[in-house]
């Protein structure tokens, strides 16, 4: 199946950015293991990418695939809200349905 594609936009290597990355990795490893691809974009290095995506706030996490497009803003310190915000339940449900788990 198609992997979940996540893009995380941060502004510089600040403590907040580091914390956000750590939070996201934790969530992914726990709930989305093997199902995702994560790309981290530093806006200070590639501001044009932020312009294209019209990012205002950082950190911003964007999920485009599978649709629908979803944005979650903040340091992702609340895992339930992140999963809810990314609207991943259909994907996860279908995976469970295939009998990946006993």
């Amino acid at each position: 199946m198609n992997k979940i594609k996540l893009r995380l936009y941060i502004t510089g290597k600040t403590p907040k950015s580091e914390r956000t990355i750590a939070n996201l990795v934790k969530i992914c490893e726990r709930d989305l293991q093997g199902l995702y691809e994560l790309q981290i974009i530093d806006i200070l290095e590639s501001p044009h990418l932020a312009e294209n995506e019209k990012i205002l706030a950082t950190p911003t996490l964007i999920k485009e695939v599978p649709p629908p497009l979803r944005r979650v803003i903040g340091d992702l310190s609340n895992p339930e809200k992140v999963l809810l915000g990314l609207d991943l339940s259909p994907v996860l449900d279908s995976n469970y349905g295939k009998g990946d788990k006993p």
Binding site: K16, I43, E51, L56, A57
Partner: protein, 504 residues
């Protein structure tokens, strides 16, 4: 020494917005942030766009436009009719958008702490990319609506304002107001963002819209106080109309010009002054248009150019009437010594009439200007707006060393004054009154000059009549008083002589 000098004066940059640089005494404070607050439809976005456009057109200074509300596509479309080709400037690298407008489906969920660092990074990037010296941000209300934490947004905007200040960029930020006269802006923005605040108003006054701008504060530097009318015109955008800025500065001439009627010249002590404003007041049909036509035709006889702005009669009617008095307007126009512009007063708001009149005068360079009638224009304006219009027009005309003749229609047939006179009589140099006089069952006409600044003039009220050749001024009315008030009192010759004897 240099250090002290530098820290005492605040430099300003000319915005290029017509009239505004005069009101602001040189433009916006350089390298600072100015808040433009106004209700919806007050012209904030146009001001923001024009600030950048004029910078590019007049000074080749690139700019960055941060839009929180309209999409860049909408802005490009909306301002092209004002003559600003934003897309072209983008290609030339003189204009950069930071698109912070809402996107459909952009709803987000907040999960933890965040800031607007991305917005700041994008603004910095855009400023560096085009080498901007001007930034416009339009408008703040929209971003407050999208992030629930108003305190955080306020802090972030404050941070952005501080950083662009460090970059030496002159910035304007627009913000909404809910009332024309109330708090400066919503969300308490003005308290932390701006050293400088300008308010744009679009108030409804006597069923008419009136746009004004007011500089509320410029920290550490001067500006004109109070509200100034402005208008938004098709090719130039915002044009402010500064009043006190130039009034009273004219120097006057002692050269006389003819009124077109030798007898009237005599009454006025040898004619009108070359750069004076003459008001001709009288009831309808009394000869005002004839007098002004004669005034314009006299210019032509001397090889001078005349401009007639007619707000009461159509072109054909005016030309036909003039032909009846032996004046060939058609030929004069062909010779390019006359220009007749006929317009309905209702066709525009007064501010736009003013802009148009000014541009015609600038292009045509007339020596004489006739406005027939001023009272027709009064119909389409508020009392205050009309007075401002007259002041602006007269001072402009005087600056150009042009003689202006305005007509004004009185409401009553006998005697009386018009509202127009009450408002502008102090601004005019000469006032000529035309009046109907009812005598022994006949309606006759009287003329008098009641004011002639800087010169002697006759005090008599003289009788005049109109025939196929025009206006003929005769003798003074002798044994009658009360013509101007409309309440005639006849006195016999004997009585007059007796009073005369008493005073000897």
């Amino acid at each position: 020494m240099n250090e002290i000098e530098r820290s005492t004066g605040i430099e300003k940059i000319e915005t290029g917005i017509k009239g505004f640089d005069m009101i602001s005494e040189g433009g916006l404070p350089k390298g600072r942030t100015t808040l433009i607050a106004g209700t919806s439809g007050s012209g904030k976005t146009i001001f923001a766009v024009q600030f950048l456009s004029e910078g590019i057109i007049k000074k080749d200074e690139p700019g960055v436009f941060v839009t929180f509300e309209e999409s860049p596509e909408d802005i490009r479309k909306n301002v092209i009719s004002l003559g600003w080709d934003v897309a072209k400037w983008e290609q030339e690298g003189k204009w950069a958008f930071v698109d912070a407008s809402p996107v459909v489906g952009e709803d987000h969920i907040i999960a933890g702490e965040y800031d607007l660092g991305a917005l700041l990074a994008r603004i910095e990037y855009a400023v560096e990319r085009v080498g901007a010296t001007r930034i416009s941000m339009d408008s703040l209300g929209s971003i407050f609506a999208r992030f629930s934490d108003a305190g955080l947004v306020r802090n972030e905007i404050f941070k952005i304002a501080g950083i662009v200040k460090q970059m030496g960029v002159t910035t304007i930020i627009t913000a909404e107001r809910t009332e024309e006269y109330g708090d400066v802006a919503r969300f308490g923005i003005e308290q932390f963002v701006a050293d400088n605040v300008i308010i744009l108003r679009n108030a409804l006054e006597a069923e008419k819209r009136r746009r004004t701008m007011e500089i509320l504060k410029f920290r550490g530097t001067g500006h004109q106080k109070g509200e100034y009318p402005f208008t938004v015109t098709k090719d130039t955008g915002i044009v402010a109309i500064p009043l006190s800025g130039f009034y009273m500065k004219q120097h006057s001439s002692t050269i006389r010009i003819s009124s077109g009627n030798p007898e009237l010249d005599k009454m006025c002590g040898g004619g009108f002054f070359r750069d004076s404003i003459i008001l001709v007041s009288g009831p309808t049909g009394c000869g005002k248009t004839m007098l002004s036509a004669g005034f314009a035709a006299d210019a032509a006889r001397n090889g001078d150019r005349a401009l007639i702005l007619a707000f009461e009669e159509g072109r054909e009617q005016l030309f036909r009437n003039a032909a009846g008095w032996g004046i060939d307007f058609e030929q004069m126009e062909n010779d390019n010594i006359l220009k007749v512009v006929c317009r309905y007063p209702e066709a525009d708001i007064l501010e736009d009439h003013l802009i148009l009149i000014k541009s015609i005068i600038r292009d045509f360079h007339p020596h004489r200007v006739v406005v027939d009638s001023l009272s027709a224009l009064e119909r389409v304006s508020t009392v205050k707006g009309f007075r401002e219009f007259v002041i602006a027009l007269t001072s402009f005309i005087k600056q150009q060393q042009v003689a202006g003749l305005f007509t004004s229609t009185t409401g009553e047939f006998m005697g009386g004054t018009s509202v127009t006179e009450a408002h502008i009589s102090t601004i005019t140099d000469t006032i000529i009154l035309l009046r109907y006089v009812e005598m022994f069952g006949e309606v006759r006409r009287g003329i008098t000059a009641i004011k002639m600044l800087g010169s002697m003039h006759e005090k008599d009220i003289r009788e005049f009549y109109i025939d196929g050749k025009g206006m003929h001024i005769g003798k003074p009315f002798s044994n009658v008083t009360g013509i101007l008030s409309g309440h005639l009192v006849f006195t016999s010759r004997k009585e007059m002589d007796r009073i005369g004897d008493l005073l000897k």
